[in-house]
Every structure is written in C-alpha cells, then in structure tokens.
C-alpha cells in the first residue's frame, strides 16, 4: 500500500515515530530547562543534552517524511548510537561532568535504556525501507501498488 521510496512510516515504523517523538519531547524539554536555568553547572553535559534533542527531532522528522530523508535518518540514528555509547561510558568514567541525569548519560538509564536500543531499531528500520526501495526500483515498478 505505502510507497517505500516515499514513506518510511507504515507498519512498525509508526511505533518508532511515537517512541522517537516522545524522546524528542523529553530531551527538548529537559535540555531547554537545563540550558536556561543552570547551564554553568555542567556546560558539556547540557550541550550534549541539547544535541541529543536536536538529533531526536531530526530522526522523528526523517521517519515521518521518508523518501530522501531516509539517508539523513541513517546519519541521525548513527550519531545517536555513537552519542549514547560515548556519553554513557563517559558518565561512568567522569561522573563529575554529568551531575544530573541527561537522556544519554548512564546509557539512558533514566529512560529505561530506551535511548540505547532505539538507534539500533531505527537503523534496522531505515535499512529495511532502503532495501524495499531499491528492490522496487530494480523490479522496474514505480511502487504504486
């Protein structure tokens, strides 16, 4: 039904959209709060928090739009995965730099480790969408079924 070259939404993708949307909401809310009210306490952690928020919003957008945004989405999810691993490790090694919970610190423990699992699911989903797109292209159809 859905044209995979145009839409990443459809099927399981819709659940990802909601989870991504929720994290985007949570990360944005939290980082705006942190940056506005006590930025000086941990500038690095809070800047990373804001970066996480931007990446989540971008990934949500890519999931909804599909099409050429799929490639951007792959980048967003990759940045996310690297981010959660780096920040997660750093928050254990240098706890002083991360006094408050952020989305990525302690591998997303404060969010039930969802931030750790989500980029993997996102990447798998985007890859599936890409694969279906190439499959329909090589079949010579315009995928309007």
């Amino acid at each position: 039904m859905a044209d995979p070259t145009r839409r990443a939404l459809g099927g399981p993708g819709v659940v990802l959209v909601v989870v991504y949307g929720l994290l985007a909401l949570a990360a944005t809310g939290r980082s705006v709060l942190q940056l506005l009210s006590y930025y000086d306490r941990a500038p690095l952690a809070y800047t990373l928090s804001a970066l996480a928020a931007v990446v989540y919003i971008l990934a949500t957008w890519c999931l909804v739009r599909g099409g050429r945004w799929v490639r951007v989405g792959v980048w967003a999810c990759s940045v996310e995965l690297v981010g959660v691993l780096l920040v997660g490790t750093a928050s254990y090694l240098v706890p002083d730099a991360f006094p408050d919970k952020t989305v990525w610190s302690h591998f997303g423990q404060g969010y039930g480790f969802v931030p750790l699992v989500l980029p993997v699911l996102g990447l798998l989903w985007f890859r599936k969408v890409q694969r279906e797109a190439t499959a329909s292209e090589s079949a010579g159809t315009t995928a309007t079924v």
């Binding site: 099927g11 399981p12 819709v14 909601v18 929720l22 909401l25 949570a26 809310g29 709060l33 009210s37």
Partner: protein, 120 residues
C-alpha cells in the same frame, strides 16, 4: 484536587494502554469506544494543565517547578499525536503506538504526582 485527578488520569491511561494492547493483539483498528477513552485521558490532562499552572506556586523549588510545568504542557500532546496516527496508519501497529503513548502518559502522570506530593 490535583492529586486525585492524577490518580484518575493514571487509571484512564492504564485502561487505554490495556485496550490498545488488546486491540493490537486482536488486530483490531481504533474504534469509537477506545477513542472515547483517549478523549477522556485528554480531557483529564487538559484540566490538569489548567489546575497545575494555576497552582504552580505550591512547588517551591524552581527546578522542580519547571519540570512540573514542562510535564503539564507536554502531556496533552501525546494522546492527540497518537490518536492522529491511528487515523493515518490503519494497522495494528498504530494500536501499538497508542499503547506506547498511553504508557508514557501513565508514567509521566505518576511523576507529576510524585513532584506534587513532595510539597505536601
């Protein structure tokens, strides 16, 4: 007033969650009955938003006050977003996202209540 209302919202969100999971498993699409539950959750969250903002002075710590306000504002967006998705996406996956959204509402409403209770 806020505390009992959060209980009601959490209970309704749990009903919505259970209903959505049931629909997803049975491969049923959104119907009026479940949409009505989502509507009730939404009304509860909107009343909570108004009451919460009006009584924001109850929370003295500025950080917690800001968190409380951010939750109040974010919460009503969730049922609207997931309900709209069930219109666009006609499959059991839409019911799955409805369930995820309802679960998030329940958790966030419990957090709201925890913050509120800290201040008696």
């Amino acid at each position: 007033m806020i505390q009992p209302l959060t209980y009601v919202v959490v209970a309704l969100a749990v009903v919505l969650f259970a209903g959505s999971v049931y629909y997803a498993v049975k491969d049923r699409l959104m119907d009026d009955r479940l949409l009505a539950v989502a509507g009730l959750v939404e009304v509860g969250l909107l009343v909570l938003l108004v009451l919460g903002l009006a009584n924001l002075g109850h929370i003295t710590d500025s950080t917690e006050k800001a968190t409380f306000a951010a939750y109040l504002v974010s919460l009503p967006l969730i049922p609207i977003g997931t309900s709209l998705l069930t219109i666009k996406e006609k499959s059991r996956w839409a019911m799955g996202s409805m369930a995820v959204g309802a679960f998030a509402v329940a958790v966030m409403a419990v957090r709201l209540q925890q913050i509120w209770n800290t201040y008696g």
